[in-house]
């Protein structure tokens, strides 16, 4: 019983999902918002549980499971993202006819996988958690079938995701072969004495491929723009925030904890991937005319900034990553919230469709503008603080060229982020669009406003979160 406490948040997600799957059968088709509400409660309960457990540390289940500050932080973050995604889903999914029970059930399963990543202390648990995260997402991407873009998105995600899983599991096999260990601490212990180092580094490289795919690091990012664009926007919002967070924690576990002593081999590779990812993400976004696709490339670019923190390593680098994940999530959710709110009915993804939004929907225009500024990293937004921490950590360990690339690509990103603001505020709205005075107090609006407010609050008063994150990072085991 005591051991169960160590996996309580992922367990809440998983059990909630199983129970909801059955309860949902009794809920009539037109009342699926009830399922959504219950899923939100489960998600919130898991997040709350993680917060209440704050400070807990230990391991159990024969060393398969451990808990520390980062694990609980990830639980809380994905739980909150889950609640907010559900908040956005009610209106959006209803408009597109995909307000189905399984949507929320699948989300809970995926969330349980994400949360489990933080608690994983063994390569097997990490593999299981990653698959538990991914498989529901394959389905969620395609849940808007028979829409062709949704189906295409799901198919591409599934094929490439399975492909990447192959690399991951093969890499794990090789690392096991080289060390005879599957537990992360065991690997760390036997790393020095390993007799077959080539096997070990090839295994590490293949795991990097598999995990790099999940966080959309270049050159393993190719799936991202298409999948993000085709998936229902709420799923995209979920993927770009929660999955990225889970993926980075997995990288942190595998490379930071298990392969920490191999850092002089993998850290230069992380730096190179980070540089490549920042360049490709920002360049790809530069000339997009489709907002959702632009945000997908922007998500790639942010994976690059986050990789910089891992390349820098140490408490300051990891702390930067763990702070940037919620900062990015808030801005990204705000952007997707504004995107899904701006149009009734069929969503128009082109940036030009948002012309004059400041006049037709001033509230949402503001939310979107805050999101863009935070993604760009303008003070006083959370994005600025996060980027600052990441760049600083890179400079501290002498990765100055990497920080310079980060700054230069951020300058490039200014072009496309500010273009959205210019379009919203300085261009005339398309004809025949009704002007809304103020926003009706809806769940959707509250969700978007909270995300935007979080982007600002974390930028003005980052200290409490930074302190908590620092405490969490120093407790990694």
């Amino acid at each position: 019983m005591n051991e169960l406490l160590l996996v309580l948040p992922p367990l809440i997600f998983a059990l909630g999902g199983v129970v909801l799957l059955m309860v949902d059968l009794a809920i009539p088709r037109e009342r699926k918002s009830l399922t959504a509400g219950m899923a939100a409660v489960v998600s919130a309960a898991a997040a709350l549980c993680a917060i209440l457990q704050w400070g807990l540390a230990g391991s159990g289940f024969q060393g398969m499971i451990s808990v520390d500050g980062v694990a609980l932080a990830l639980d809380a973050l994905v739980g909150v993202i889950g609640v907010m995604t559900i908040g956005l889903s009610l209106r959006y999914n209803a408009l597109r006819g995909i307000l189905r029970g399984e949507f929320f059930v699948l989300m809970l399963f995926s969330l349980s996988g994400m949360a489990l990543i933080g608690h994983a202390a063994n390569l097997l648990t990490i593999f299981l958690a990653i698959e538990l995260l991914s498989i529901p997402l394959y389905v969620l991407s395609g849940i808007a079938r028979p829409r062709l873009d949704s189906e295409e998105s799901a198919m591409k995600y599934f094929l490439l995701g399975a492909f990447a899983s192959g690399f991951l599991v093969f890499g794990m096999a090789l690392v096991y072969g080289a060390t005879g260990q599957l537990s992360l601490t065991g690997i760390a212990r036997t790393l020095i004495t390993s007799t077959s180092v080539p096997l070990l580094v090839v295994g590490a490289a293949l795991m990097l491929v598999g995990l790099g795919f999940k966080v959309a690091a270049a050159p393993f990012h190719m799936w991202t723009p298409d999948v993000y664009q085709g998936a229902p926007t709420t799923v995209t919002a979920f993927m770009s925030t929660a999955t990225k967070a889970a993926g980075f924690v997995a990288l942190l576990r595998v490379f930071g904890v298990a392969l920490g002593d191999l850092a002089n081999v993998w850290q230069p590779a992380f730096a190179a991937l980070s540089a490549l990812t920042m360049m490709i993400g920002n360049l790809g976004a530069l000339t997009q005319i489709n907002l959702k696709r632009m945000l997908a490339y922007s998500s790639i670019a942010h994976a690059g900034y986050l990789l910089m923190g891992l390349a820098a390593g140490g408490v300051s680098g990891v702390r930067g990553v763990v702070f940037y994940l919620p900062a990015y999530a808030a801005a990204s959710l705000a952007a997707f919230a504004a995107m899904t709110a701006a149009h009734n009915g069929e969503e128009d993804q082109s940036i030009s469709a948002y012309a004059g939004l400041s006049r037709t929907r001033p509230g949402w225009a503001l939310v979107m503008a805050v999101a863009m500024l935070s993604l760009l990293g303008i003070p006083p937004t959370a994005g600025f603080v996060g980027k600052y921490m990441l760049f600083q950590s890179a400079i501290d360990v002498g990765l100055v060229p990497l920080a310079v690339i980060g700054v230069l690509t951020s300058v490039v990103s200014g072009y496309y982020y500010l273009r959205v603001i210019v379009t919203m505020y300085f261009e005339a709205p398309p004809e025949g669009v009704a002007v809304t005075k103020g926003n009706r107090l809806s769940l959707h609006w509250v969700t978007g406003a909270i995300a935007a407010a979080a982007s600002i609050v974390l930028g003005i008063l980052p200290a409490p979160l930074i302190n908590a994150v620092t405490a969490g990072v120093t407790s990694i085991r």
Partner: protein, 644 residues
């Protein structure tokens, strides 16, 4: 307690947010009421903190909200600290600010952009409070820039008039020049002391080795450079007179009572640094005195009622700066206080006059004369009794007639000049005479004689929301002198004692009867002379009697030709050089480079996107190639001898 200290800033901020979010639906009166209430509540809190500061053992209340910036050695906390000086400034900002908010409700009536006006005004109050409550140079700078932004927005508030927009831009550009100096000063402070908190910096400055005194001089001069921008001193004062294009309450609040004194506040705050830089002190005193003289001279011949007050403000700021330079910090702060009272009063009364003059236009739709031109006024005394009485009180206070507030504070600075620097005394003395003259000229032209236009003869007194603040401010302008009476009077030197915890003990002199008497006689004579000259000014088209001075009148009327000089010496060569460079570089060089980089980036973007073919198998291939590259790289580092 910790959080409470933020409340004075948060209240106007809350007012701003409420008005920004819901103002459109609330109606103008409610918007004004919310904004005014927010500032009034902040005033109540300021009073509370004033009492707290008085009772606190170290005469300060502080709150620290964790690290804000935390780079290697630079640690800047979100720190606020209210000490005697801050508390005094807070009372001015929220007290006079509250009155001006109240006045604005009447003044902005009928303006479609009232909501925005109050949003900016509340933001200004919050920013200005941040400026005076900051406990470090960086946070002070944040407030400094925010008030600059509000000023820019409010000067150009009626931006549909191109002149207003241009005035806003001018203020913005000129202030940035000063800000560059200020930022350099702050950087140099950090380089020298390794800290930015007031407490640390001043403590370290006390123990600085004598050979590094040169650095302090440079720091002080750079900080003063910032002050010349914000507090409108030579050579950067040119923006302030133009800034009167903004709505009159803005002129009163920002460009007379509060924001423009930020430079003075900053200098007084940094007095520890000043005391160790005697050369810089002399420069400051001289710049202040020359500014006071030059601006006072310009004010003599202006016709626009607000222009006179604008130049008068520059001139009085010069007095305060000179006071700081002379080491009379209490005198400078005292004059800052009394000036805030009577100049805010004068501006608001002028606004009331302008409103009265527009009465005809508003009721009949006829529009025949400029409502701000004093030549069109005259005889308003009978039509607008409250405005007249309050304006005269403000004017006499400004002129330094006892027992009004201005007399006491001005006397303190003049006495300090008499003790230390004859040159400054002469400049300030002449300025005092100028001041009395233009006050007399203005009062007579506006309120006495016969009306010189139809608008003037049909003027009407303004609403109580406008006159009540006038009466309150007039009372302050009368009684303000009590704050720091010379030695020998009951309750002598209260302000000096109050500020002791911040700026140390300053010698407090008794009233120098000869000096004070001389200047009072001088002022009365100047007023009498002005009245006698303008008694004969009966028609709006008549020439100014001062034109008999010939070239001197031209120099004053054309503002020393400074705008023209700047245009000829700075702006024109700059443009010429710029267009020359533009021809050489831009078209082929820099422009080409910038465009080239832009085009290259776009080209890269397009090429990159062509790789994104949409075919899942090509994505897989790139993933595979990436995997091969990563594996190859890992093995490469391994065989290069890098081992775990």
């Amino acid at each position: 307690m910790q959080m409470l200290i933020l409340l004075p800033i948060l209240l106007p901020l809350a007012g701003m947010l409420i008005n920004a979010a819901f103002g459109a639906r609330l109606g103008h009166r409610t918007v004004g009421a919310i904004a005014t209430t927010a500032v009034a509540a902040a005033f109540a809190l300021s009073v509370y903190f004033f009492a707290q500061v008085a009772g606190a053992p170290d005469h300060a209340v502080s709150g620290n909200f964790g690290p804000w910036i935390n780079v290697a050695e630079l640690e800047v906390p979100y720190g606020f600290r209210i000490d005697a000086l801050s508390a005094t400034m807070m009372l001015i900002i929220t007290g006079i600010g509250g009155l001006i908010h109240l006045y604005s409700i009447g003044y902005m009536k009928g303006d479609p952009r009232t909501q925005r006006f109050f949003v900016y005004l509340n933001l200004f109050v919050a920013s200005m409070l941040t400026l005076v409550m900051a406990d470090n140079f960086l946070l002070l700078f944040v407030g400094w820039e925010l008030v600059g932004l509000c000023s820019y927005l409010l000067i150009g508030f009626w931006f549909s008039n191109i002149k207003n927009a241009e005035a806003g831009r001018k203020a913005f550009v000129v202030n940035r020049i000063g800000d560059v100096a200020f930022v350099l000063g702050v950087l140099l402070i950090f380089a020298t002391f390794g800290a930015l908190g007031f407490k640390e910096v001043f403590e370290k400055a006390e123990h600085l080795k004598p050979e590094s005194a040169g650095v302090l001089t440079v720091i002080t001069l750079l900080l003063f450079g910032g002050a010349t921008g914000k507090s409108a001193q030579l050579p950067l004062y040119v923006w302030l007179p133009d800034a009167m294009a903004g709505p009159t309450p803005v002129s009163a609040l920002i460009h007379a009572a509060t924001m423009v004194t930020a430079g003075i506040y900053m200098l007084i705050r940094s007095h520890v640094l000043l005391e160790h830089a005697p050369v810089a002190m002399q420069v400051i005193a001289l710049v202040g005195a020359v500014t006071a003289f030059m601006a006072g001279f310009v004010a003599l011949t202006q016709w626009d009622i607000k222009k006179v007050l604008a130049y008068s403000t520059v001139s009085q700021l010069g007095f305060m700066v000179a006071g700081v330079g002379l080491g009379a910090l209490v005198g400078a702060q005292f004059h800052l206080l009394t000036h805030a009272f009577f100049k805010a009063l004068l501006f608001l009364a002028a606004g009331s006059v302008i409103h009265g003059m527009e009465h005809l236009t508003l009721t009949t739709g006829r529009h025949d004369s400029d409502p701000q031109d004093m030549r069109n006024m005259g005889g308003l005394r009978a039509k607008m009794p409250i405005t007249t009485a309050t304006f005269i009180i403000g004017g006499l206070a400004l002129a330094g007639i006892p027992p009004l507030a201005g007399f006491w504070s001005k006397d303190e600075i003049l006495a300090a000049a008499a003790r230390t620097s004859p040159a400054v005394l002469v400049l300030l003395g002449v300025t005092a005479a100028f001041t009395a003259f233009y006050v007399g000229r203005q009062i007579y032209l506006v309120f006495f004689g016969a009306p010189r236009s139809e608008a003037a003869s049909h003027a009407a007194e303004t609403a109580p929301t406008m006159t009540v603040p006038l009466i309150v401010l007039a009372a302050l302008a009368v009684l303000g002198g009590l704050l720091n009476l010379p030695a020998g009077f009951p309750a002598e030197g209260w302000l000096g004692h109050w500020l002791e915890s911040v700026i140390g003990k300053e010698p407090h002199a008794p009233l120098d009867l000869a000096l004070a008497g001389f200047f009072v006689v001088l002022a009365v004579a100047a007023i009498a002379f002005a009245v006698s000259l303008y008694r004969r000014f009966v028609k709006a088209t008549q020439a100014d009697p001062l034109e008999r001075l010939g070239a001197l009148h031209g120099l004053s009327f054309n503002k020393w030709h400074l705008d023209g000089l700047y245009r000829a010496v700075l702006i024109k060569p700059f443009y010429a050089g710029a267009s020359f460079l533009a021809r050489i570089f831009d078209q082929g060089g820099i422009d080409g480079l910038v465009n080239g980089v832009g085009a290259l980036t776009r080209e890269l973007s397009v090429t990159l996107r062509e790789l994104q073919t949409g075919f899942v198998r090509s994505y897989g291939l790139i993933t595979l190639l990436g995997a091969v590259a990563v594996v190859a790289y890992f093995l490469f580092t391994l065989f290069n001898g890098i081992r775990p």
